[in-house]
Amino acid sequence: MFMDNGLITIQKASRMLGVAEQTMRRWDESGRLIAVRGKNNYRYYKKEDIEEYAKNNLKDIFKSVKNWVLSGTGVEPRPDFYCKDSAVFQARLTRLKDELSKIKNLKDTYFLITSIAGEIGDNSFAHNFGNWPDIMGIFFAYDLKKKKIVLADRGQGMLKTLRKVKPELNNDIDALRTGFTEVISGRSPESRGNGLKYVREMVISNEIRLFFQTGEAELKIQKGDLNLNIKKSSTKFHGCLALIQF
């Protein structure tokens, strides 16, 4: 997808920004984000321009991450949102922790928010290690002004990983419920796996809200929720997607 001259196609650029190609054409015509024309008169973009644009136009990280997981063909997220391996994730999680700890009204909960994000991200790596269907690693971004953290992977999803230890699981809804309620691990024969149970406990006892989707099942949890509100989603993808709000 990279041209010899360092330019990228409109398809790649649109995926990096999480918008439709038609939007890119409109932006080019209006001068909002100008393309370079190739000899064939097709539109191409400088990768740095796209990254710069994305950095300066951070509107809705949830929309961006959702576009990324829903996209039929996987593409690596923009570099500042992309954790290819757990070492990169750990470094960025540390940065998130440091930034959260500076927020005055989070001094009693910043560590919880960090560990919730940490457990969700760690789950993605632990359950897809060596088995990524297309793009390895996770999309991890946050917008502290809007108090949102998003994490997503284009991995196998909970149903596929949990079926290895619980073959009777029928659908994404059952898998999602199991993941958040039962002590079970998709990495059989290892019997551990409690990250999502921890996440649930921390969310229901603090001012934190969580949206989580895997396959075509989603749940929302917030403070005081005793029951899991799981339903069928209007969208479907392989992998997992989480939005943490605080």
Binding site: L93, G118, D122, G195, Y198
Partner: protein, 97 residues
């Protein structure tokens, strides 16, 4: 012997990192005498997540059982995670002062 967890970092997260930390520390445990107490010192740890804790403490307790004693556990992140691990594993960690 005392294991100072802050030497592994102030943000202890990730099952793989917990496992790696234990594996890396294992050679230092070979000289521990048969009845020696193993103190795990949480002083300086800022974020202690269950995945890391489960791997590290679980492996340590499997090896040394009741001789493992946790100290300086007053940090809220440490307290919360230890309580969670105790509930989920139906166990009780031994705490020192």
């Amino acid at each position: 012997m005392t294991i100072y967890l802050k030497k592994f970092g102030t943000l202890l997260n990730g099952r793989m990192f917990g496992k790696e930390a234990f594996a890396a520390f294992l050679p230092s445990l070979k000289d521990v005498s048969a009845d020696e107490k193993i103190e795990v010192d949480f002083d300086g740890v800022e974020v202690f997540s269950p995945s890391w804790g489960d791997e590290f403490l679980g492996s340590l307790i499997n090896k040394f059982g009741e001789r493992v004693v946790l100290i300086n556990t007053s940090n809220p992140s440490v307290k919360t995670t230890l309580r969670f691990l105790e509930n989920i594993n139906k166990t009780k960690f031994k705490r020192g002062s």
